[in-house]
């Protein structure tokens, strides 16, 4: 039973990272119905930006107390800002002109942007995994034989915090209202005086910043990053978004955690090499019985 709970912890922390990426996927899909395949690479970019900031600050060893907290928040904020800017630039130069084009065009463009980002990262940091300095102390605590690392709590906590903050933003603020309006009917929203370009850019900014925070967290959590990470993580996060009901924020979160748990329990009780099969079989099953995802139907407003 201890093992079960240990895997629960593993699955939740892995799922937290998927969930953070899935939030951005689902937001962008919600507003312009584009599957932004470059999103996974923005996530990887987040970990590289974190590494670059840490290197620039000269941080190589463990820190404690206030400097530690300040560094965590500062580096994460930095990665989020950079990724947000990259996201806005991608939208401006790659997707905006294609907004009214047939749907296949932006989709292929997204794949192209993904390759461009991957190759830029490969040129920048090299084609092999890159270590990220461990500046957070390796602390852990045990509850009834189950070891929980502090960084695991951090991953899950951050994912839940971001989802709640995003939910509040979308449903409680004027800008959020503008986003929902744009998602529902772009032309009507424009007639009501909403700046469509600004609203969509804002969506990309927030979504990419979330990917940046996920990149930072995964860099800290695993202590390494790799230019190609975004490919499989992006695919899993996309699956999470679809599983939960694409366009639905709580759904993306739920999907992320479900996939993380399936992977962890799959590795424990079946076999590590079958985890991908189980994840995607689950996706197929859910789509057969609930075509709009787990939480897809319950919320009419998509963002």
């Amino acid at each position: 039973m201890e093992l079960f709970f240990q895997q629960l912890v593993n699955g939740l922390s892995l799922g937290g990272i998927y969930a953070l990426i899935a939030l951005g996927y689902t937001m962008v899909y919600g507003i312009i119905e584009l599957i932004n395949f470059a999103h996974g690479d923005v996530y990887t970019l987040g970990s590289f930006f974190s590494l670059a900031i840490l290197t620039a600050l000269g941080i190589t060893s463990e820190m404690h107390g206030f400097p530690l907290v300040a560094t965590i928040l500062g580096v994460m904020a930095g990665a989020m800002v950079f990724c947000g800017i990259v996201g806005v630039l991608i939208e401006r130069f790659a997707y905006r002109r294609l907004r009214n084009a047939p749907r296949l065009a932006p989709l292929i463009t997204a794949i192209g942007v993904s390759f461009i980002l991957e190759n830029i990262m490969q040129l920048w940091q090299g084609p092999s995994p890159v270590p990220i300095p461990t500046f957070i102390p390796e602390a852990s605590f045990a509850i009834g034989g189950v070891t929980i690392q502090v960084k695991q709590v951090f991953v899950v906590g951050l994912a839940v915090f971001m989802m709640i903050a995003l939910q509040l933003f979308v449903y409680r603020t004027k800008l959020g209202k503008a986003m929902r309006a744009t998602a529902q009917d772009r032309d009507a929203a424009q007639l009501m005086g909403i700046d469509i370009n600004m609203t969509i850019a804002l969506t990309f900014l927030i979504g990419s910043a979330l990917a940046g925070s996920a990149g930072f967290v995964s860099g800290v959590y695993y202590g390494t990053t790799w230019f190609f990470n975004g490919f499989s993580a992006g695919l899993k996060a996309f699956t999470a978004a679809v599983l939960g009901g694409i366009g639905n924020l709580a759904g993306a979160m739920l999907g992320g955690f479900v996939i993380g748990l399936v992977e962890a329990f799959g590795a424990q009780y079946v076999s590590d090499q079958w985890t991908n099969v189980m994840v995607f079989s689950l996706l197929v099953l859910v789509l057969i019985f609930r075509p709009s995802g787990l939480l897809g139907e319950s919320l009419p407003n998509k963002v």
Binding site: L3, N10, S128, P131, S271, D272, Q273
Partner: protein, 406 residues
């Protein structure tokens, strides 16, 4: 990204056709310059393996030219890269070998580095009758049994593929024996599900069981996997004395070791094959590399026969040789000697060179006396065993296991 190899293939095909044209157009002269060709991964993560290995060949060719060869013939070194996007690629390797086959001055190839690339290349050199010597391939199926026969489609009885390192049958057994000596009674086995990694892990498992060890489980990783915590939690629950990994650093060998600490397996020893013998492993596993062991299917560069080579290498390249530099140097000398002998007895042709290589008898080399059996495998199999320890972790040579004892 995916279209790039196709483009490269088209270009090199065009180049090959052009070359063929010049060959047919002009009568083949008794060229006095012959090429020792090299196919290795020369870019990306695999370059840390490829470049020092290629340097061994460069050194051999330069020494041969300086010394002078019979009939005034000269040698030239030519290397082609088989890495695509920084990772060794069988399609690129077979394309390189086709280029070499089309070049009449190529008398032998040193390479490839990776076993799955060799699988793609052997059918081509076998068809062309061009000799190829790998410094580092260890997979059993390349020379032994039905799988090897299937690779020699055109001429099932013609051996064109040789290797100067020994194969995984012995590497796995040496690993198992060393694990037993270290007192590891129960182990967990993980591999990367690739030609080399799974092959090595299976051999290790069989040898370890035969030696009285208990295998607690055997799992396979998924390609591009980054999170191994769930798997390692499962491993930890079986409380192994040590974990064996079959695979290379790039397919998870480094990350797996790094994440062992996260689940409380940080002090559990970790044993691998030559796939984790590179600098890259120390870089990725970081401080966690401490407590790892690995085997290499070549003699340690510290052994007596390699001293002269080490000095020459250091003088020429201003750095220490890589794990397979001496093997590549020896492989190049096998080809060079075969060319020289062919020149003395009737002329340098590919069949003559091939015959001389197969007939190599106890040639002295940095990796010990070189001779091949009927499958193209070396008769002088030596496995070196290393330990990684300290802060920062560094590899130290422990002992040599001769295949005669396995």
């Amino acid at each position: 990204m995916r279209s790039f190899p196709a483009l490269a293939r088209a270009i090199s095909l065009a180049a090959a056709v052009a070359m063929l044209g010049t060959v047919m157009g002009a009568p083949v002269q008794a060229a006095t310059t012959y090429k020792v060709a090299v196919d290795l991964p020369m870019s990306g993560a695999d370059a840390s393996n490829g470049i020092p290995t290629d340097n061994g060949v460069i050194l051999a060719v330069e020494e041969a030219n300086a010394k002078g060869l019979p009939g005034g013939i000269m040698l030239q070194h030519q290397v082609l890269d088989d890495a695509v996007q920084g990772v060794h690629d069988p399609a690129a390797g077979s394309q390189n070998v086709k280029t070499f086959v089309a070049d009449p001055s190529v008398m032998g190839i040193v390479g490839p580095f990776n076993s799955n690339v060799a699988r793609a290349e052997i059918p081509i050199t076998n068809d062309a009758g061009l000799a190829q010597i790998s410094p580092s391939n260890t997979n059993d199926g390349l020379t032994i049994g039905e799988t090897a026969k299937a690779l020699r489609q055109s001429h099932p009885d013609l051996i064109t593929y040789f290797r100067v390192c020994t194969r995984d049958h012995y590497q796995g057994a040496a690993g198992a024996e060393s694990a037993k000596k270290l007192g590891f009674k129960k182990m967990y086995i993980i591999d990367d599900n690739e030609t080399y990694g799974k092959g090595l892990a299976d051999v290790f498992e069989a040898a370890y069981k035969a030696g009285g060890g208990t295998v607690l489980g055997h799992d396979h990783l998924t390609k591009n996997q980054q999170d191994f915590k769930a798997l390692l939690t499962k491993v930890k629950a079986t409380s192994p004395d040590a974990v064996f990994f079959g695979g290379v650093t790039a397919t998870g060998g480094g990350l797996l070791r790094k994440q062992m600490a996260d689940v409380g397996l940080g002090t559990t020893p970790y044993i691998g094959g030559d796939g984790i013998s590179d600098e890259e492993y120390l870089k990725i596993a970081g401080a966690q590399a401490d407590g790892s062991y690995y085997t290499v299917a070549a003699p340690d560069i510290g052994m007596a026969s390699a001293q002269a080579f080490n000095k020459a290498y250091q003088a020429r390249f201003k750095q220490a040789p890589g794990a397979y530099s001496a093997a590549a140097y020896s492989a190049a000398w096998v080809i060079i000697n075969a060319i020289a002998d062919a020149q003395k007895s009737g002329g340098v042709t590919r069949p003559a060179v091939l015959k001389n290589i197969a007939g190599t008898k106890n040639m002295a080399s940095p990796v010990g006396p070189v001779a091949f059996d009927k499958n193209g495998d070396t008769l002088n199999g030596v496995i070196s065993f290393y330990k990684i320890s300290g802060t920062p972790p560094k590899a130290t040579f422990l002992n040599t296991v001769s295949i005669a004892s396995l």
